[in-house]
Symmetry: C2
Subunit: 113 residues, 2 copies
């Protein structure tokens, strides 16, 4: 048996941002396209777009700067808000994962507790 923990940001009670969406944004940043990011993660464009929209609506911020048409058909890049969101999420989850492991050992490895 082991312990798991899912961390997410929320606003007004709905899940707004978690690991899956962090990965999606990271891929968009790297590839310059939501479509390409979706493909890389093995999901449809529709699904990826839906997740982005859901987060934008929940948090009330804009995540992607997009262009349609033109060279290469268009593309998407991250807004500064999106970058900040990613950075804080990473920092928080990294720290919590470390603490989780430590506490787990504390409580489950001791002979008496």
């Amino acid at each position: 048996m082991n312990v798991k923990c899912k961390i997410w940001f929320e606003k007004n009670g709905g899940v707004a941002f978690a690991e899956g969406r962090r990965m999606l944004l990271e891929a968009v940043d790297r590839l310059g396209s939501l479509n390409a990011a979706a493909k890389e993660l093995g999901m449809s464009y529709r699904a990826a777009w839906g997740k982005i929209k859901a987060t934008e609506k929940a948090l009330g911020i804009k995540l992607l700067e997009v262009t349609t048409g033109g060279k290469g058909g268009g593309g998407a890049t991250l807004t500064p808000d999106a970058r900040e969101l990613i950075r804080k999420f990473e920092k928080y989850t990294n720290r919590m994962n470390l603490l989780m492991e430590r506490e787990f050992k504390n409580i489950f490895d001791k002979k008496k507790s």
Copy 2:
């Protein structure tokens, strides 16, 4: 925006035990009956029973000592394994909730990070 965290125990990749089930077991312990516990938590007996079974199967342990028929129709009490599970879960989640709050302030209240 705020951070939430769901903590659960798992084995072989499936959710085995989390807050809802902890509450259910606690109610069984207090009331001496799964049926009564289910009613108190506003769920059907069927639903409560399903959760218990799922956890027992996932962890491979027995949670309830039950009797059917007899005085009052029967009843259920917690096994020692169930008590230990509850105790460890409570200890772990209490500790983690404390740490979560502390880290949240660390990362989100600072001017620079």
